[in-house]
């Protein structure tokens, strides 16, 4: 949704709200960090180059002893080298960047920021900092009236995950934010929602008439959502050992995917309509507490193993990880949702590190036909129809159907109807951060998460972690698809995980 003043401009009718070259300002807190270098600066440059956000005013705000020149050199190195025609474009973009050195709780830094920021532009404050700095920054911005929106375009604050480390801290952060911001100004980013295939979930479900009639417990047997990583903790041992997979992945990415799959059709695509439907899914999740959690959740931790032919260390041997750590590097969760549509349909969520392959996908498995007329290859006989939505590495979707094997018998086997973004569309998909940053610039929060979604998700995750607080995580070898107990979670109901 575009801000009102722009919608009233009759000359904007028929123009894509995201294609305007209108001016904006962005302040990146923690600009010297890894996220700014790898994702934010390249995304802003690409939006600039494509003319989608072509008039930026960028301020990098951080504590390190850098200056404008140093930040521009770092930004230049972060932008992939282009052809010679691009040199001028790069130079123009870099000239729009400046650096402000200050600690995040120092009032003078914010006074200087207030002096620098141009008037009349929407301002995005991007908090690319450790979460424990969010409160200081929001308070300082509020105290210095940098969030005041009585006159002129709206200021927006984008915060990175994790939003809190449990329900109590998330609520506290929401309360602090509400003292200075309206909910519509707070953008809690989950970069998974910026991925093309994830956005396509809504299109797939609600722009096609063939899926919705069977998207319920009459036809769906179960849903599997997998976010598997090959990497270990990659230098983030200090952070990860305090978080674990359930906090780091299930609470946000995986539950967001589940809510997009399970939600009812929104009345329109406005941020509140979409996010209200997602929040209803979160509310409908049966809470998992005590024995219920222990029966329906498996937490694991990787031991040393072999991945791609190379020996990799176990989690407890990783840098900055406690040698007796109980942190989960794998989580498998069986969820059920209350309500007519999904009653009796389990949602299996799985995430893990040091898995054999990097895969993010959602698989909707449909029930078998009530009567099987055709013989098949015995080991494939129980493979039903499935719709697999591939999020990464190959974005697309696959529908598995049974087909007759050519020949004189009526034997069947599963075959795939495949759709891949790479071969079906001329333009490559924008990076998730490009889409999400552009949305923040134009004031569209549909793909960001709302306070109630976050709090419901923490409620679920807190209960699980509480139930496992005195338990050792199950061990699995690095390079395997998780602990044996995770297989049992499905096997006892006659199902199995999709092969990674």
């Amino acid at each position: 949704m575009v801000s009102e003043s722009l919608e009233e401009n009759p000359l904007r009718r028929g123009l894509d709200a995201r294609s305007a070259a209108r001016p904006y300002a962005i302040v990146i807190f923690g600009v010297t960090g890894d996220l700014a270098r790898r994702k934010l600066i390249p995304a802003l440059y690409r939006l600039f180059k494509l003319g989608l956000a072509a008039d930026p005013y960028i301020v990098g705000f951080a504590r390190r002893d850098w200056d404008d020149g140093r930040l521009r050199r770092e930004a230049s190195a972060a932008i992939a080298a282009g052809d010679s025609e691009e040199e001028e474009t790069r130079a123009t973009f870099l000239s729009r960047i400046s650096y402000l050195r200050s600690s995040f709780d120092e009032a003078e830094g914010y006074r200087e920021l207030a002096r620098r920021l141009p008037h009349g532009r929407p301002i995005v404050y991007y908090l690319s900092t450790p979460p424990d700095k969010y409160r200081d920054i929001i308070e300082q911005l509020g105290r210095h009236e940098l969030l005041d929106t009585q006159e002129g375009p709206e200021a927006r604050v984008v915060v990175e995950k994790p939003f809190g480390r449990d329900l109590a801290s998330a609520r506290e952060l929401n309360i602090t934010a509400r003292r200075y911001l309206r909910e519509s100004q707070l953008y809690r980013i989950d970069h998974y929602l910026g991925k093309e295939t994830v956005q396509n979930l809504l299109v797939l479900r609600f722009a096609n008439s063939i899926f919705e009639p069977i998207w319920n417990n009459h036809y769906v047997d179960h849903v599997q959502i997998t976010v598997a990583e090959q990497v270990g903790v990659e230098g983030r041992g200090g952070y990860f050992d305090r978080a674990g997979s359930t906090r780091d992945m299930i609470q946000n990415h995986v539950l967001q995917l589940a809510s997009l799959i399970a939600m009812e059709p929104p009345t329109d695509l406005s941020p509140d309509a979409v996010r209200s439907e997602k929040a209803k899914v979160m509310r409908a999740v049966h809470p998992l507490r005590g024995n219920d959690a222990r029966d329906n959740v498996v937490l694991g931790q990787y031991a040393a193993g072999v991945l791609g032919g190379e020996h990799v260390p176990g989690y407890r041997e990783e840098d900055r990880v406690s040698p007796d750590s109980r942190t989960d590097t794998f989580a498998a969760v069986r969820l059920e949702l209350a309500g007519w549509r999904w009653a009796g349909v389990p949602f299996y969520l799985r995430t893990g590190k040091r898995m054999p392959r990097k895969v993010s996908e959602i698989a909707v498995s449909f029930k078998q036909p009530p009567h099987n007329l055709f013989p098949g290859i015995p080991e494939l006989q129980d493979v039903g129809n499935s719709l697999v939505i591939h999020i990464q590495p190959r974005e697309g979707a696959t529908l598995t159907v049974r087909s007759k094997i050519p020949g004189f018998s009526n034997a069947t086997r599963p075959v795939s109807l495949d759709f891949s973004y790479g071969t079906s569309f001329a333009e490559s998909s924008p990076e998730a951060y490009e889409r999400l940053l552009l949305d923040a610039i134009v004031g569209d929060s549909t793909l960001y998460t709302r306070d109630d979604e976050i709090e419901h998700a923490w409620e679920l995750v807190d209960a699980i972690l509480e139930a496992f607080s005195d338990q050792e995580p199950a061990r699995y070898e690095a390079g395997t698809a998780g602990p044996r107990e995770a297989y049992e979670l499905l096997r006892r109901h006659g199902r199995r995980w999709r092969r990674l």
Binding site: N9, S19, A21, A54, T92, G422, T423
Partner: protein, 329 residues
């Protein structure tokens, strides 16, 4: 004839195997481009934009071409997995003096796959050849700047509500200008001036696109009347002041809105890479590295593949219909 078609298909398959080492991967659509020999480089931009992204067959009909027979070619680039991604290309010369009929190219398109048509041929009229061409494609891109009947030919085709979807490149060239004009009126204090415009001047765009600018303003500002006059396009409404849309005499002006009260809201090119936006509530510079009518080749293709939102499509149809009416009544 069918033997000749079979020979060409066999040659294409052979080329595909030779260049990519395997059979053709699924080709997604046929793209038929009609151009003159002089427009070869312009015409080749379209298949070039497909390279590495979409496997397709391009049938290039060259009006007044001198070669004999269909010439199969293959363009391939490696994809992300280092497999060859190929565009099959077939050049079909139409001898001088002969009309382009569908018989020249239909047999070489892919069966049951979409067919997109790009009619670039300079000096041709919208009727009857182009009409016949339109009847056999799923989406059509024309360029009224190249047609002998000019904007009336392109606009009347683009205003058709029946399939195929027809787009005029002269309209696509206006898109960046529309963005710029909208930006000039984003300051709320500028909006009332839209009700008292006296003259709008436009630079950096060819005549057919300026006609579309006039039609667009008529639609966007709810004016009922549009007509061509010696001083430009006159836009009028029952209860509104008239204004004229014309080519700018000043080379610096990209677009200028003048009002009856003497105000000017404008965008002016300072140098190749920069624009100055000015008005009562606006005075700033912003980057704009390319001419305002510049369109990326891939955008032309996207447009041909219907990538547009619904409100954009409605606006395009209304502007084309307004222009077609103005030129034919």
């Amino acid at each position: 004839m069918s033997e000749r078609i079979a020979e060409v298909e066999a040659r294409l398959a052979e080329l595909q195997r030779a260049t990519s080492g395997r059979e053709a991967r699924s080709l997604l659509f046929s793209l038929v481009i009609v151009s003159t020999p002089e427009q070869e480089s312009e015409a080749l931009q379209v298949p070039d934009s497909l390279l590495g992204t979409r496997p397709a067959r391009v049938v290039h009909v060259v009006v007044g071409g001198k070669e004999n027979g269909a010439i199969p070619r293959m363009r391939c680039v490696p994809d992300q997995n280092d497999r060859a991604l190929c565009v099959q290309e077939l050049v079909i010369p139409v001898p001088p003096g002969q009309e382009v009929t569908s018989g020249f190219w239909i047999p070489f398109t892919l069966r049951d796959m979409p067919v997109y048509g790009v009619w670039l041929a300079a000096g041709t009229s919208s009727a009857p050849q182009l009409r016949e061409f339109a009847d056999h494609v799923d989406a059509l891109l024309v360029d009224s700047e190249q047609l002998t009947d000019g904007v009336s030919g392109g606009a009347c085709l683009a205003a058709r509500r029946a399939p195929p979807v027809a787009l005029d490149r002269s309209w696509l060239r206006v898109r960046n200008l529309r963005e710029l004009a909208a930006e000039l009126f984003d300051p709320p204090g500028h909006r009332p001036y839209l009700e008292e415009l006296s003259r709008v001047t436009v630079g950096e765009l060819p005549d057919a696109s300026i006609a579309y600018v006039a039609a667009w303003l008529a639609v966007a500002l709810d004016r009922d009347h549009l007509r061509r006059t010696p001083s430009g396009w006159q836009v009028a409404g029952t209860d509104a002041l008239d204004f004229t849309v014309a080519k700018s005499a000043d080379r610096k002006t990209v677009i200028a809105f003048e009002t009856h009260s003497g105000e000017t809201i404008s965008a002016e090119r300072l140098d190749e890479g920069c624009l100055r936006l000015s008005g009562p509530e606006l005075d700033r510079e912003r980057p704009s590295p390319r001419p305002i009518g510049w369109i990326r080749t891939v955008e032309i293709l996207e447009a041909a593949l219907f990538v547009a939102n619904e409100s954009a499509a409605r606006l395009r149809l209304r502007a084309a219909a307004r222009l077609c009416d103005a030129e034919t009544t």
